[in-house]
C-alpha cells in the first residue's frame, strides 16, 4: 500500500466535497473518462452523448447505500437509476475491459480518490472486483480474493498495531479478510473462535460515502404538479430523487420562520418570471399543498392571489424543486440537476444562470446537465461581469465518436467568459439554422 505523489489543482481550496469523477466501461463511456467537478459544472453535448452516464454510477452508489436492505454490490433498479440487467449498463465496446466490468472513481477534497471496479457475475448481478483508495500519502488496493498473508504484508503500521491489540485481547491470532459493505470493500479481522465475528478495521469507502449519501439528485422528469404532496423529512440528506421533498422543505422553512430561505426562493421565482410567492399549506399530517402567486410579479393587487401549483404552468412545478434544492443544499454538497431549464422560457433560461451561480458562490457544488445555449451564454456573461469567478466554473462537452465511444472536451473560462476551442458549440447550430432560413427567405423575397 504505497505512497503516491499527487498534484493538487490550484484553483480550489481543500474540503470541497466531490472534486472529480472518472468512469470507464459504462455505457458509451467505454474508455475511461474523467471530469473535474467545480462549484458550477456544466455538462453539455448532443442527446445520448454520455452526459448522464458520467454521473449515473454515483447515483447507483447512492441508491445502493440508501436501500433499506442489502441489495448486493449495486442496486440496479432504484429511485435514481433504473436498470433490469447488468448488460444494460456495461459498455458494448469492450476495448479497455477484457471482462464485463466497469469502474467508477470518485475524488473528494482534491486528492482523495476511491475507485471501485464492478464486474459481472456468472450467476447474474455485479460483484466488487477491486476497490482502491489513494491520497497524497498512501494508496490502498483491496480485492475480494485477498488472502490473510497478502493483506498482512501490505497493511499500514497503524493496522498492524490494531491487529496486535485484537490478537492479544482475543488470545488467538485473527485473520485478515476483505468483506463487502454494500458497494464498498472493507478490511476486517475475523476471529476464528467466534463464528461470524468480524471487526471492521478499515473502510476506505467512508471517504466518499457521506458525499454520495448527501448528493441531491433532480432528474429530468420531475413529476406532474399535484394538488397535494406527501409530507417528508426535510434533510439534510435526501434519499432518492429530490422533487418529493420540495413541498415539505418549504413548509419547514415557514414553520422555522427561515426568512432568508423563503425570501431567496421568492426572489429566484420572480427573477425567472414564474411567480412572486410560494406558500406550503399543510393539509393534514400526511399531506402538504403548494400554492403559488397567480401572477409573476408582486403588487398591491396580488396579495392573497394564490392558486394551487397544479393550476399554473409546468414551468413553476418543474423549476421549483431546482430552486429549493439549491437553497437547501449546504456548502460542499453536490447537487446534480438534469436539464434544469426544462419548461422555461428563453428569458428564464438565461436568468437561471444567476440562480446556479448564487448557489455555487455559496459553496454548493452544482452539476447541471443542459441543452440550453442561453444558459451557458448567461454563465459566460456572469463570469465576464465578475459575478462568479472563472475558476469556479467548468464546462464539459460530450460527444460520441463514430465507434460510439464518448469523448469529453473540458474547458475553463477566462475572465472574459471565453472558453476557447470546443469541438462544437451551440452557436454553430444557431448560425446554421439562421443561415438556412435567411438563404431561403431572402432568395424568395428577391423573386417577389
Amino acid at each position: 500500500m504505497n505512497t503516491q505523489p499527487n498534484s493538487k489543482r490550484e484553483t480550489q481550496n481543500p474540503g470541497e466535497g466531490v472534486t472529480a469523477v472518472s468512469v470507464g466501461g459504462y455505457k458509451s463511456l467505454a474508455e475511461e473518462r474523467s471530469i473535474e467537478i467545480r462549484p458550477l459544472t456544466i455538462l453539455a453535448g448532443a442527446n445520448s452523448s454520455g452526459k448522464s452516464s458520467i454521473m449515473q454510477p454515483l447515483l447507483l452508489l447512492k441508491q445502493t447505500l440508501e436501500a433499506t436492505y442489502d441489495p448486493g454490490a449495486l442496486l440496479l433498479d432504484g429511485p435514481n437509476v433504473r436498470f433490469t440487467s447488468v448488460d444494460q449498463l456495461l459498455s458494448k465496446e469492450r476495448k479497455v475491459e477484457r471482462v464485463a466490468a466497469f469502474r467508477v472513481g470518485i475524488e473528494v477534497d482534491l486528492g482523495k480518490t476511491v475507485t471501485i471496479r464492478f464486474s459481472k457475475q456468472r450467476a447474474g448481478g455485479l460483484e466488487i472486483a477491486h476497490l482502491t483508495y489513494a491520497d497524497e500519502r498512501e494508496s490502498v488496493s483491496l480485492h475480494a480474493e485477498m488472502t490473510h498473508d497478502e493483506i498482512a504484508a501490505a497493511v499500514s503500521p497503524n493496522l498492524k498495531g490494531f491487529y496486535e491489540t485484537i490478537a492479544q485481547r482475543e488470545g488467538v491470532p485473527p485473520r485478515w479478510v476483505v468483506v463487502r459493505n454494500r458497494c464498498f470493500l472493507d478490511l476486517a479481522l475475523r476471529i476464528e473462535d467466534k463464528k461470524e465475528s468480524r471487526l471492521v478495521a478499515y473502510s476506505p469507502g467512508n471517504v466518499i460515502e457521506p458525499h454520495i449519501r448527501n448528493l441531491i439528485h433532480l432528474p429530468g422528469l420531475r413529476g406532474n404538479p399535484e394538488r397535494t404532496y406527501p409530507r417528508t423529512a426535510i434533510g439534510p440528506t435526501f434519499s432518492g430523487t429530490f422533487e418529493k421533498y420540495t413541498a415539505s422543505i418549504i413548509a419547514g422553512w415557514q414553520a422555522q420562520d427561515n426568512r432568508d430561505a423563503i425570501k431567496g426562493l421568492s426572489q429566484d421565482l420572480e427573477r425567472l418570471g414564474l411567480t412572486w410567492q410560494v406558500v406550503a399549506e399543510p393539509v393534514n399530517d400526511t399531506q402538504v399543498e403548494l400554492r403559488v402567486g397567480r401572477l409573476s410579479r408582486a403588487s398591491r393587487n396580488t396579495v392573497g392571489d394564490l392558486v394551487s401549483i397544479a393550476d399554473v404552468g409546468f414551468g413553476v412545478s418543474q423549476t421549483l424543486p431546482v430552486l429549493v434544492a439549491l437553497h437547501a443544499a449546504k456548502p460542499d454538497q453536490l447537487v446534480y440537476l438534469e436539464q434544469p431549464e426544462l419548461h422555461l422560457h428563453p428569458r428564464a433560461q438565461s436568468a437561471l444562470a444567476q440562480v446556479l451561480a448564487d448557489a455555487a458562490n455559496r459553496g454548493v457544488r452544482v452539476v447541471a446537465e443542459t441543452h440550453s445555449a442561453l444558459l451557458i451564454l448567461a454563465v459566460q456573461s456572469l463570469v465576464a461581469e465578475g459575478y462568479i469567478a472563472p475558476d469556479k466554473v467548468k464546462l464539459h462537452w460530450f460527444k460520441r465518436r463514430d465507434d460510439g465511444i464518448t469523448e469529453i472536451t473540458s474547458a475553463d473560462l477566462d475572465e472574459a467568459g471565453a472558453y476557447g476551442d470546443w469541438p462544437e458549440d451551440f452557436a454553430e447550430v444557431a448560425l446554421e439554422t439562421e443561415s438556412r432560413y435567411l438563404n431561403a427567405a431572402e432568395q424568395r423575397q428577391g423573386q417577389e
Binding site: 451564454l377 459566460q380 477566462d414 472574459a416 467568459g417 471565453a418 472558453y419 476557447g420 476551442d421 470546443w422 458549440d425 452557436a427 454553430e428 444557431a430 448560425l431 439562421e434 443561415s435 435567411l438 438563404n439 431572402e442 432568395q443 423575397q445 428577391g446
Partner: protein, 180 residues
C-alpha cells in the same frame, strides 16, 4: 473543415451588416454569411479596434451578432488599439482628390490602421475605398502589403483564399491593384 494557419483579419462592418437584416440582399448576404462562417470554422481571428467594434455595434445583423459571440467565446477575437499615427494618416488621405474622396478614406481609415497593426488583411464590401487606398499605395509604401478582399464577389474567390490560410497573395494587395 480541417484547420489551416490562422490569420488576424480585419472584417469591415459592411460585411456584418450585409450578412442579414432588413437591408440584406441575396446573394450578397449569403456570400457574406458563407465568408464569416468559414472564418469561424477555419479558426482565423478577427481584429477589433474600438472604432471597428463601434461600427459593428451600429451595423451588425442578428446573424453577425451570433457569429461574433461565438468568435469571442472561442477566443478568436484579436483586440487592438492602434496608436494613431497621424503622420501616416495625413500622407494616405493626402492623396485624395477632393473632399468626398478624403471623407471616404477617413471613414475607412480605421480598417487600414487595424490591418497594419496585425496581419495586413482586410475584408470589406467597399470597393470605392479599396480603389482609393490602392491609389494611395502608389505613394505610401506602408499600404502596399495590405491584402483587401471583397467577400461578396465570388470571382475574387474569397472562400478558397480563407481556406488556403488567407495569405497576402500578390494579386490581392493594394500595391498590386490596377488603376481604375
Amino acid at each position: 473543415m480541417p484547420k489551416k494557419p490562422s490569420q488576424r483579419l480585419v472584417v469591415d462592418a459592411s460585411v456584418a451588416r450585409a450578412s442579414g437584416g432588413a437591408d440584406a440582399t441575396y446573394p450578397t448576404s449569403k456570400h457574406c454569411r458563407d465568408f464569416l462562417d468559414v472564418v469561424r470554422k477555419i479558426c482565423h481571428q478577427i481584429v477589433m479596434s474600438p472604432d471597428i467594434a463601434a461600427e459593428w455595434d451600429r451595423h451588425q445583423s442578428h446573424w453577425a451578432r451570433t457569429w461574433r459571440v461565438s468568435m469571442v467565446a472561442r477566443k478568436k477575437l484579436c483586440r487592438v488599439n492602434p496608436s494613431g499615427d497621424t503622420e501616416l494618416q495625413d500622407r494616405v488621405v493626402g492623396v485624395a482628390a477632393g473632399d468626398s474622396q478624403r471623407e471616404a478614406m477617413l471613414k475607412d481609415y480605421h480598417l487600414i490602421e487595424a490591418a497594419l497593426a496585425t496581419d495586413q488583411c482586410i475584408a470589406s464590401l467597399d470597393d470605392t475605398a479599396r480603389d482609393l487606398f490602392a491609389r494611395a499605395a502608389r505613394q505610401v509604401k506602408e499600404l502596399r502589403g495590405v491584402a483587401w478582399v471583397n467577400p461578396s464577389l465570388p470571382d475574387e474567390q474569397p472562400i478558397p483564399w480563407l481556406a488556403g490560410g488567407a495569405r497576402p497573395e500578390k494579386t490581392r494587395l493594394l500595391g498590386s491593384r490596377p488603376e481604375t
